[in-house]
């Protein structure tokens, strides 16, 4: 076992080093976010692969072992090719097959109705595979002092476990989740290597069940509470307005409907915040527990994250993303209002004589998709800043306990890959 590694040192002269883990907060992430955003905008989003790569280079570099940075050696081109391959081999065939089935059997035929179901099962089977492969790519592209990481196992094995344990979640009312998380963590960590040395994880889900019970009861309470608040609110509305809430068509009147919509959103937001609160605490338990059970060359990881810490990072990160989006949406909206006002103040016939017929429709046909594209991107404007904060919090609360004989760690012999993460990218599985 890994625990004996140190005593194996032949002459006993090198007992190994105590490695210090630290986080050197990257400076200039906001500038990077803006530069990446502009490049993504002007390349119709394709630059995303390179943008992501530069962010990772910065984040990895902020993680220090004994003051020396981890190095991310992946490239944007690899991510791009990985995605293109998955697009060609998975997404495009699925799209064409869907079109073909609808054409051949008709949209209402049983085949066309069952096909999406089969598709979702297939895609879900690929989900775990995608997670594993993305992790493998990242480890292969992570090095410290030139020594690479790797993930030496079978992604389908992981994918299958991910799939069948997921199916059991509803059947067990969620109670399989701690066991499942531990199982998946066991699979992936025990496959992980740094150089030619293995990580070792022996976890049991037992200690997680207490916190999970709290989470489970909490979620249940939130659900019941939110439903009650909702019911009371509806009853109050009806009491106040009586039958006036309905328009002749039997539907809610628009003004009432908007009150209901805003109220519903408010209740959902409150419930979500409460959920974040409880789940942050549960996640902190998982992280600390898993770190404690992870060993490398006799050393043991130790994490001291707290629920409050995670919650603070989560909530402030959401606010940062919102601010980023507003920074874009507000000027964009002002510009749109001004353009419409100017266009309306000019005589329509003059406008058409200058710029051709239907100029307004043509302008809208071009500008509306662009505006939607920018808005969709806007929520990711400050994403790198939030990623740095999340990773920074985790790394600053992580340590390695016990000496590691660095000179014994030789370069990894694991096979290399030439493209990265296509599947994960396609399914939007992505932390960084």
């Amino acid at each position: 076992m890994a625990g004996n590694a140190i005593t194996d040192v032949p002459d006993g002269s090198t007992a190994g080093r105590q490695l210090e883990v630290s986080w050197l907060s990257p400076i200039g992430m906001t500038g990077l976010s803006i530069a990446n955003f502009i490049y993504r905008l002007f390349t119709l989003g394709i630059y995303d692969f390179w943008a992501r790569t530069e962010v990772r280079k910065r984040l990895w570099s902020a993680i220090r072992l004994d003051g020396e940075p981890l190095v991310y050696t992946g490239t944007g081109k690899e991510l791009f090719l990985g995605f293109i391959i998955v697009f060609g081999l998975v997404l495009l065939p699925i799209l064409l097959l869907s079109a073909g089935i609808i054409l051949a059997f008709g949209p209402t035929s049983p085949v066309a109705q069952l096909f999406p179901l089969a598709l979702y099962v297939f895609i879900f089977l690929l989900f775990g595979v995608a997670i594993y492969r993305a992790q493998r790519y990242r480890l292969l592209r992570t090095s410290w002092r030139g020594i690479r990481g790797s993930l030496d196992g079978n992604s389908w094995n992981y994918g299958w476990t991910y799939f069948w344990t997921f199916l059991l979640i509803p059947l067990t009312l969620g109670w399989i989740i701690p066991w499942r998380t531990t199982k998946l963590q066991t699979l992936i960590t025990n496959d992980a290597m740094f150089g030619d040395r293995e990580f070792f994880f022996k976890g049991d889900a037992g200690p997680l069940y207490g916190p999970f019970a709290m989470l489970w009861i909490g979620v249940f309470a939130i659900y019941v509470g939110a439903s009650l608040v909702f019911a009371v609110a509806i009853a109050a509305l009806q009491h106040t307005f009586g039958l006036d809430t309905l328009s002749p068509g039997g539907q809610l009147k628009p003004e009432i409907a908007s009150i209901v919509a805003i109220g519903t959103l408010g209740i959902i937001a409150m419930a979500y915040l409460l959920y974040l609160l409880i789940s942050a605490w549960y996640r902190a338990c998982i992280i600390n527990h898993f770190a404690k059970r992870t060993h490398f060359e006799g050393a043991q990881f130790k994490a001291k994250v707290t629920g409050a810490g995670l919650l603070w990072i989560d909530v402030t990160n959401i606010l940062i993303l919102l601010v980023g989006a507003l920074l874009l949406i507000i000027p964009l909206s002002i510009a749109a209002v001004l353009i419409v006002a100017v266009a309306n103040s000019i005589d329509a016939t003059l406008l058409e004589s200058l710029l051709g017929p239907d100029v307004k429709i043509r302008f809208a046909a071009i500008s509306v998709p662009i505006a939607i594209f920018i808005m969709a991107l806007s929520f990711t404007l400050l994403l790198p800043v939030t990623q740095a904060r999340a990773m920074g919090y985790f790394i600053s609360h992580l340590s390695i306990e016990g000496p590691i004989a660095l000179e014994r760690i030789a370069q990894s012999t694991a096979g290399q890959v030439s493209t990265g993460e296509g599947l994960a990218q396609a399914f939007d599985i992505d932390a960084f």
Binding site: L24, P26, I27, G28, L32, A35, F42, T43, L44, G45, I46, Y47, D48, W50, E54, K57, R58, S61, G67, E68, P69, V71, Y72, G76, K77, F83, V86, F87, L91, I94, L95, S98, A99, I102, L103, A104, F105, G106, P107, T108, F115, P116, L119, S143, W144, R145, G146, I147, F194, G195, D358, L406, E407, R408, I409, A410, Q411, Q425, A426, F427
Partner: protein, 371 residues
């Protein structure tokens, strides 16, 4: 350049990449590259600037640098302190963040510019790849597409069919088909839906709604609408729309990173609307067909006037005829100008009555004005 070179020495750590161990070295930035002096060795190793890469692109915020060298794979040189990193950025400007970004984005910026240029070229000329493909589709495929679209559109509603009504509809269709001079005849069905609508589907299929028949002020209106939809069919607009939708969907997946839009094609089938140009083409065909069939174009014109008035259509209709068939003054004027040929009734009064009640007796609320 040489004047800028500080010739300062820096403490650094070099790893050979064979084990995770490292040794302390002294480095110096020289004209030729980074000079690395190993302890106990006289001749320094030179890492040339052109073959260097750094773990992260160099910026003005850099606080240290981790350098690798293309001709000594696996080896890494870590130099703490911002001075080395900033000097290196001036000596090897290709390692700066802005240079790296520009290098990787440049091909895509060109590609985007080219794409925009091609799009503009396509929209300025009459090139339409989707239409070319639509024209090449085999008839059988078009028929199948059309049948399924009819099924999808009439989902949840029955198809109207009475012997007299069908005979009258066939009579009208045959007359217009003959005037349209198409290779294959059009097939028309009536769906029992109260919204006012008509649409062409691939493979010379046309769907009319019960609402359209019942609200029509005369058979000439129906003849006009049918001729217009035939125009869409002749120009293969439905097929083109479908191919374009599939293509756009694929492109959207490519740009958005996939996911989400899968399997929504069934919805797409029902959604597309025609451009103004397509409507004009269909109108031109309609007017030609009506002239050759000796039917007045006034019906079509009246229909345009009627549907462009507010209140005639339920605004909550999922498929609103007004939004899919925008009426413009041009179109109206063209239909009103048409004339100067011998007119004959499109159908006899008896046949028109049969057609109008093809869905059975109309609801009391919806009684149309009598002729």
């Amino acid at each position: 350049m040489p004047s800028e070179i500080p010739h300062q020495r820096f403490e650094a750590r070099l790893s050979d990449g064979k084990t995770a161990d490292a040794q302390d070295v002294m480095v110096e930035l020289t004209e030729r590259g980074i000079s690395i002096r190993l302890p106990g060795s006289h001749d320094p190793v030179i890492w040339q600037y052109g073959a260097l890469s750094t773990s992260e692109p160099l910026t003005q915020h850099a606080i240290d640098a981790l350098v690798t060298y293309a001709h000594q794979l696996g080896a890494t040189l870590f130099v703490p302190g911002p001075r080395f990193a900033r000097s290196l950025a001036t000596l090897a400007p290709q390692l700066t963040a802005s240079a790296e970004r520009w290098r990787s984005a440049r091909p895509w910026l060109w590609a985007t510019a080219a794409l925009i240029a091609v799009t503009i070229a396509i929209s300025l000329t009459d090139l339409s790849p989707a239409r070319t493909m639509a024209m090449m589709l085999p008839d059988e495929a078009r028929q199948t597409m059309g049948r399924h679209m009819v099924t999808a559109m009439s989902q949840g509603h029955r198809l109207c069919e009475t012997a007299d009504g069908r005979a009258a509809l066939d009579k009208l269709t045959a007359k217009l088909s003959k005037a349209a001079k198409t290779e294959s005849d059009f097939r028309v069905v009536v769906v029992d839906r109260m919204l006012v609508n008509a649409f062409a589907t691939p493979g010379e299929n046309i769907v009319l709604t019960r609402g359209l028949l019942e609200k029509a002020n005369g058979v000439d209106e129906i003849a006009g609408v049918l001729a217009h939809e035939m125009g869409h069919g002749i120009e293969r607009h439905p097929e083109t729309g479908f191919i374009r939708a599939v293509g756009l969907n694929a492109a959207a997946e490519l740009f958005t990173g996939g996911g989400g839009t899968l399997g929504s094609l069934g919805v797409l089938l029902l959604q597309f609307s025609y451009s103004r140009e397509a409507e004009c083409e269909a109108d031109d065909h309609a007017l030609r067909i009506l002239r050759d069939a000796e039917i007045s174009a006034k019906g079509l014109a009246e229909f345009f006037i009627r549907i462009s008035k507010k209140g005639q259509l339920q605004e909550s209709d999922p498929v609103n005829l007004l939004s899919t068939h925008p009426v413009t003054l041009d179109r109206l004027a063209k239909a009103l100008r048409q004339g100067g040929y011998k007119l004959r009734p499109a159908l006899s009064a008896k046949d028109w009555r049969a057609l109008k009640s093809i869905c059975g007796a109309s609801d009391k609320v919806q009684v149309p004005k009598s002729e």
